[in-house]
Structures are given as structure tokens and as C-alpha cells.
Amino acid sequence: MGKSQVEIEGWIQKYIRSVLETGSDALPTDTDWTDLGLDSVELVIMAGVLEDDFDIAVDPHILIEYSTISTFSQYLSDALNQKT
């Protein structure tokens, strides 16, 4: 099932806020994962949970290429839309 970039951004925002225990304030969407405070292990874990929730393979290396909430959400939205 396709998902919009906005829907995926919302998912990632909620996920990362839970990992970082930062409350409900929105995270910047154009900041690198590392600068948001995520560790590389946490990115791999997020890739697995994305796979589980969106039923699509997510290579963690893609998260290095698309290294912000905005760019990765667009990438994943496109990938999901191509799949359907």
C-alpha cells in the first residue's frame, strides 16, 4: 500500500521521539540522523521496524544515502508507491 511522504514523516517523527525520549516537539526534517542524536545501531533497528510496519525491505545503508527525515521519507514513499 502506498504512503505519502507526509505520512512517513509522521511515522519517523514519532519513532525517533520515542527513541530519544524527547517529548512531543517536532524534530527538524532536514537534519542528519546523527545530528538528531541517533546512533548507527538505532538506524539499523529503525530499518527493521520500518520493514515490519511497511512490508518493504529497507537496507540500512539507504539511511546513510538519505540521511534526513525529509529525504528518507520521500525515498520510502516513492519505493512504496512503485511497489503497489
Partner: protein, 290 residues
């Protein structure tokens, strides 16, 4: 299981192993009073539990404070074997060594005992390292092997000065004092282990999945515990084909699967423990080198 005969140790260390014939003897030696600084044999008991090995060590180092046992119910996950050890542990302070392939630096036990003297309910952690110049999962098999590792250990004349392990190892963390997902050497009062109910046996996958990160998270989330980081110590992984450190692909797959299971069990994603904790440095528990 036979009962233990060591009476009134201050500290119990539970070491879990599975098919670690080469690695376990070094690990046990590294935890013995003969290697650990400022520790007498009567201070500690080492409870080594074999979790159903087909390839167990032919002989173990002659360590008076060591009891080597076999789990009464070996399972793919080490978690049940750990909980067996927690029941047997007699010390007020109890450490768990979930991976018996990890050697210790020489001040781990003195540091843990020092933290236990200073803090009421400490959660004492040691940083994880891997022997070699890169993480084992990232090493090409031809470039890193048990033979290469043996030569590395020989190059520092281990076990003459255990702190030289840092010279031949790679950290698993960005910083010893920074966020951490887990610690292979984690020490708490026995009463804290009891309050936590030990490790959660729902983490039943080979290697235990995120049982160890889960344990750390639950421990630091208790309202009255204090995270203490022994930043000058470490546990040093020997390559052994373990579930989480053999290949990059295997490691990624494991991290993904374990993360999904953790979220299923806990209703939230797995993440690092980010609280800075109390930094305990070596000069606070060991005399300066002469």
C-alpha cells in the same frame, strides 16, 4: 546442578558460554583473583554456566573461586542460564557476563566493588570492545581469524598487563562515557536483580536478542538506581562465530529482528541509554601504577 561451596563472597560473577572452547579459558582467567587487581580469591565467586555446548573446553584454568556448571535446561537463548546463575549467586553484588567470549580488563571487579561501596543501588556497566582493528562483523574472514587474534594477544604478552588489551581493540561505542545499548559486564546488588526478576525469558531467540539491552533499560528505569560507568575498564570480544558478531549481514539481520521483537514485547522501540550516569575512573579504585 551441584551446590557451590564458596562461602560469603562479596561479588559473584555469572559467565555464560556456548561452544567457546578456545575463548572461555581466557575469559575465566581474566575474571580470576590472579588477574583482577585488588581482589582476593575469597572476595569473589565465578559461576561459569555452559549453555549446552557441543564444543566445551577440554580444561579450564585452575581457579579456586571458579565453579563451572552445565545449565539444567540449555536453550538457544542464554537468558535462562543467566537466571539459573542469579539464583545461585551468593554475593551482595552480582555481575552478569552474558557472552563468555569477552575478556575483562584488570580493574573491572575492583571498580564494581568500589561503586557498590559508594552508591546505594548502582547499575555498574563496562564498555564493550572487540579485539582487532575493526568490529568482527566488518572484518573479512581472510583478514581476521582466531589465529590472527591469538597473535595479537601474543603481541601484548597477555595476560601480563591486561590494560594493554586497549592497545589491540576497537570500541563498540562512540565514547566509553556516551550512550550505550548494552554492557557485557553489568553489576548490581542481588536485591536489584531480584526486583527486576532477572532477565526476561521472553527473549528466547539464539543469543538472547535484546535481552541485555532490555535488562539495562529496565535497571536504569528503576526509580532509585544510579548508573555508574567504569570508563577505564572494558570487556573485549574474542572472535568465535557468535550470533551477533560473525558477519555484517548477520549482524544487521539480527539487529533488525531483535528490534522488531523488542518493540512487540515492550510497546516501544529499542534505543540507547542516554543518561550520562556517574563516571568512575580507575584512579578512584586502584592505586597508581608503581
Amino acid at each position: 546442578m551441584p551446590s557451590l561451596s564458596i562461602n560469603n563472597p562479596r561479588l559473584s560473577v555469572i559467565v555464560i558460554s556456548y561452544n567457546m572452547a578456545r575463548e572461555l579459558p581466557r575469559t575465566l582467567h581474566s575474571l580470576s583473583a590472579g588477574y583482577q587487581l585488588g581482589i582476593a580469591p575469597s572476595d569473589i565467586e565465578i559461576i561459569s554456566i555452559d549453555n549446552g555446548s557441543r564444543d566445551a573446553p577440554a580444561a579450564l584454568p585452575p581457579i579456586a573461586e571458579l565453579r563451572h556448571l552445565r545449565s539444567n535446561n540449555p536453550r538457544p537463548s542464554p537468558v535462562h542460564a543467566i537466571n539459573e546463575g542469579l539464583v545461585m549467586a551468593q554475593g551482595d553484588l552480582v555481575g552478569v557476563w552474558i557472552d563468555g567470549a569477552r575478556m575483562a580488563s584488570p580493574g573491572v571487579l575492583a571498580g564494581a566493588l568500589s561503586a557498590a561501596r559508594q552508591y546505594r543501588n548502582p547499575v555498574i556497566v563496562t564498555p564493550n570492545y572487540q579485539l582487532g582493528t575493526a568490529h568482527h562483523a566488518a572484518q573479512k574472514s581472510a583478514a581476521y581469524s582466531s589465529e590472527v587474534e591469538d597473535a595479537l594477544l601474543g603481541s601484548i604478552n597477555w595476560p601480563d598487563d591486561g590494560y594493554r588489551l586497549f592497545d589491540i581493540a576497537t570500541s563498540e561505542m562512540r565514547s566509553p562515557s556516551g550512550p550505550l545499548l548494552e554492557s557485557n559486564g553489568i553489576f548490581m546488588r542481588k536485591s536489584t536483580w531480584i526486583r527486576l526478576g532477572g532477565y526476561d525469558e521472553a527473549f528466547d531467540e539464539p543469543g538472547g536478542g535484546y535481552a541485555n539491552p532490555d535488562l539495562l533499560r529496565r535497571a536504569v528505569d528503576l526509580p532509585d538506581t544510579e548508573l555508574v560507568k567504569l570508563v577505564d575498564e572494558g570487556t573485549f570480544h574474542q572472535c568465535h562465530g557468535g550470533i551477533s558478531t560473525s558477519t555484517e549481514e548477520g549482524l544487521i539481520s539480527l539487529l533488525k529482528q531483535a528490534g522488531v521483537k523488542y518493540r512487540h514485547l515492550r510497546g516501544k522501540p529499542a534505543g540507547m541509554v542516554r543518561q550520562p550516569g556517574i563516571i568512575l575512573k580507575k584512579d578512584k579504585y586502584l592505586p597508581p601504577p608503581s
